[in-house]
């Protein structure tokens, strides 16, 4: 059935049909239809994972997984939002962890239940190789878990779909923090600068600037040499 006109499309929100203008995101299309979100809308720019949405296209049997704020509404979409995933998260003290190859498995033993079905990867609206990072975590490869999951916005869709009930994104967050703290090299000049500031090396110079008049500062600003 072709329901669209030149300027409008028909979408189905939890089964009910609405005519909305073309060219809107799913989020804006639902608002146009009369929704005022409390759940399911956060950043509205693809960074927070509040607007996880599942839809099926009329005439297709497959479910698709997208962010409502980043995806254009199309004619014949059957939509439902999943704004919350009741995924448990394990608490830990980063400074006291032993960052060895077992640490992820110890905290999230259920990753061992992965059956390599790749459903999580297919569900990810960020196009992350989710199964691959779970497999990397299983191998104890923290660096790869961290880098493969870097773009994760914690939307929860992978965990909603996983037949093994794995909580991908909490585990991956932990992996990134372990990598950042223990495996990423520390830049020496940062420590040097902090030590200098603590010793008061710049105090006099900054104090002098603080006391300057606007025109004195303007002069210094105008004379800046840009690197």
């Amino acid at each position: 059935m072709n329901t669209s006109s030149e300027n409008t499309i028909r979408i189905y929100v939890m089964g009910s049909a609405y005519e909305v203008p073309r060219g809107l995101t799913i989020m804006s299309a639902m608002e146009h239809a009369g929704w005022r979100f409390t759940r399911g809308a956060g950043c509205r720019s693809g960074f927070c994972g509040a607007c996880s949405t599942v839809y099926r296209q009329e005439g297709d049997y497959r479910l698709r997984f997208v962010l409502a704020c980043q995806t254009e509404a199309e004619d014949g979409m059957y939509l439902v939002q999943l704004p919350f995933t009741p995924a448990p998260r394990v608490s830990y003290t980063l400074a006291e962890l032993n960052p060895d190859e077992n640490v992820l498995l110890q905290h999230y033993p259920e990753i061992a239940r992965c059956v390599s079905c790749n459903t999580c990867t297919k569900a990810c609206p960020q196009d992350i190789e989710v199964m691959d990072y779970i497999q990397a975590a299983l191998r104890g490869d923290i660096a790869q878990t961290a880098s493969l999951s870097f773009d994760c916005i914690q939307c929860g869709l992978c965990s909603m779909r996983c037949p093994a009930d794995i909580k991908h994104y909490h585990m991956a967050q932990m992996a990134r923090r372990i990598y950042g703290r223990y495996m990423s090299p520390v830049t020496a000049h940062l420590e040097e600068r902090i030590a200098e500031i603590e010793k008061g090396v710049y105090e006099e110079e900054v104090e002098a600037l603080v006391k300057m008049t606007r025109s004195e500062l303007e002069e210094i600003y105008a004379a800046r040499v840009v690197e």
Partner: protein, 542 residues
């Protein structure tokens, strides 16, 4: 559009060879700002007529929100029954609020005596959305003094000097704290990859690809969760409480889902509600999150806090102009710091790509609406090209996709490959430069009320530079959290009574001043339902 893109492509090789054009002189900057920056339109602003900052000129939309009726009649609220009794209340579960909570805890307040209340989910905030980076002067070529000068010049010297001093001095330590939290900063051969941002004279922009906001905020939130700091979500504050002697004493929250109110008593309160992009000043689209509606300004103003630099608004030079579905979303400044130039419809470069934001935005507006060299889309929006394919030309193929993955994905979802074609951009409402005036430890003019982050005024003067608000929320979130903890621990700061008299008085002032309005505030959330729905709406369940 295609024809115009061909003109951009035609001039690209020469532009790659020549490099960027020179920056404007101070006089040229003044001129383009005065003629084209939205802030310089006097008719779009007005002076406040009531409250402690009466006489201050602010955007009309902000004035409307500040001079509005209370959302709830105080008589309906029973202050004798206290639902939460805490040492430190933190309003806003974004960057500044979460940092404040962690440092209040480090300062000796047990987790269970801290409470974060927030409007949507913990982390639905501007802090997660930042792309470009965070400034800190840590390279040998750089220094806190040079950082200081960049900030003051960028802010048109209106910044409070002691706040800028605090920010530039604390910056390297903040980066180290992030390292301890496990933030994955971009590094090459063990060194930070530091870039320029608009208005910087040294490369000091630290980044985490173009997910810097999320990559910094999420570990901070994870840490707050590890520490067990309680959070109340979907519960925006609708009014502050005072103690009858003018001291901050807690707040009233409103549950967005059940409609119930809650009374929170607190010895110290930290205001960390972020900015106001969703007020759509001068009808601009915005980069901001859904809950950026100036609530913090409204509730603090009623409680007697004064405002600073609220006359200036930051428009980010490069918001998305096409496709219209994502109009106004951010095209990070990092695209320009990595070499992409703004180009007009004829393929000409017309501005130095990294002017301070207000100047860059004004130059783009001039190109589109005065020189008539913008590109118009089917929906009537005008914009200029951001020549993104230059990035791979300069740094090698794959650079854009690797280091600007969020940007690539955003356009790719709409069928545009920005490694091949330029992107159409136009200024978008981005940042609240001013706000509630603070001192160096986050103190406001209301005793016991501290503030940090975008809601604060004074740090950035009249124009905030890229990378200084992520820094700002960390520096002043931390300072406010520590100061609030000290305040709460001091015996002399006992809360005796809870009162909403200040709100009642404010409503009276509104009437006395003869202000007629049907607006109620705080706004909490914008309303994007269509006119046709609103015209027929009978309310839900009547």
């Amino acid at each position: 559009m295609r024809e115009s893109i061909a003109r951009v492509e035609a001039t690209r090789p020469a532009r790659l060879q020549a490099g960027p054009p020179p920056a404007m002189t101070p006089a040229e900057r003044e001129k383009v700002l005065a003629e084209f920056h939205p802030d310089y339109k006097a008719e779009k602003k007005r002076a406040l007529s009531i409250g402690v900052s009466a006489g201050n000129v602010v955007p009309s939309e902000v004035a409307d929100m500040l001079e509005a009726h209370l959302l709830v009649d105080p008589a309906k609220i029973d202050l004798s029954s206290v639902d939460y009794d805490v040492d430190v209340l933190i309003i806003g579960g974004g960057g500044a609020g979460t940092v404040a909570a962690i440092f209040a805890h480090q300062e000796g307040i047990p987790a269970e005596n801290i409470l974060i209340v927030t409007k949507l989910r913990h982390g639905d905030c501007n802090s997660t959305m930042a792309q470009g980076g965070i400034q800190a002067a840590d390279r040998p070529e750089d220094s806190p003094a040079i950082h200081y000068i960049d900030v003051m010049g960028g802010g048109h010297y209106a910044n409070k000097p002691e706040l800028v001093q605090a920010m530039v001095d604390d910056a390297p330590e903040i980066i180290r704290w992030h390292e301890e939290l496990g933030v994955m900063y971009d590094k090459e051969n063990g060194e930070y990859m530091e870039a320029h941002g608009g208005g910087t004279s040294r490369k000091r922009m630290h980044s985490c690809k173009d997910y810097t906001g999320k990559a910094i905020f999420n570990p901070i939130r994870d840490e707050a969760r590890n520490l067990g700091i309680p959070t109340l979500e979907f519960s925006p504050v609708i009014e502050l409480l005072l103690d009858g002697e003018g001291k901050a004493a807690g707040a009233i929250t409103y549950n967005l889902e059940t409609g119930e109110y809650r009374v929170i008593r607190a010895k110290a309160t930290v205001l960390a509600t972020g900015g106001f992009g969703r007020m759509h000043i001068q009808k601009f689209p915005t980069t901001n999150h859904y809950g950026a509606t100036a609530d913090g300004l409204v509730i603090a103003y009623r409680a007697g806090a004064n405002l600073l630099d609220m006359d200036s608004v930051q428009y980010h030079p490069t918001g998305v102009a096409y496709p219209s579905a994502i109009l106004g979303q951010l095209a990070t400044e990092k695209l320009r710091s990595q070499g992409a130039m703004p180009i007009n419809a004829d393929g000409e470069v017309f501005v130095y790509p990294l002017e301070p934001r207000d100047v860059e935005a004004a130059a783009i507006i001039r190109e589109c609406w005065s020189r008539e060299k913008g590109v118009e889309t089917v929906s009537g929006v005008r914009g200029v090209w951001l020549d993104t394919p230059m990035i791979d030309e300069i740094h090698g193929e794959g650079t854009l996709k690797d280091w600007l993955a969020a940007m690539w994905t955003m356009w790719h979802r709409h069928g545009i490959d920005i490694t091949k074609d330029p992107a159409l951009v136009y200024p978008t409402l981005h940042y609240q430069n001013g706000g509630v005036e603070i001192e160096a430890d986050g103190e406001t003019s209301v005793p016991g009320l501290f503030a940090g982050g975008e809601v604060e005024g004074g740090v950035h003067g009249k124009n905030r530079l890229m990378g200084n608000s992520l820094l700002g929320y960390n520096v002043f979130g931390r300072r406010a959290g520590i100061a609030a903890a000290k305040w709460a621990k001091s015996k002399k700061n006992k809360i005796k009574t809870l009162s909403l008299q200040h709100a009642v008085d404010f409503e009276q002032q509104l009437i006395d001043a003869g202000i007629e309005t049907d607006i109620q505030s705080p706004m909490l959330l914008p309303d994007y339902r269509s006119k046709s729905v609103l015209e027929r709406s009978l309310g839900r369940f009547l």
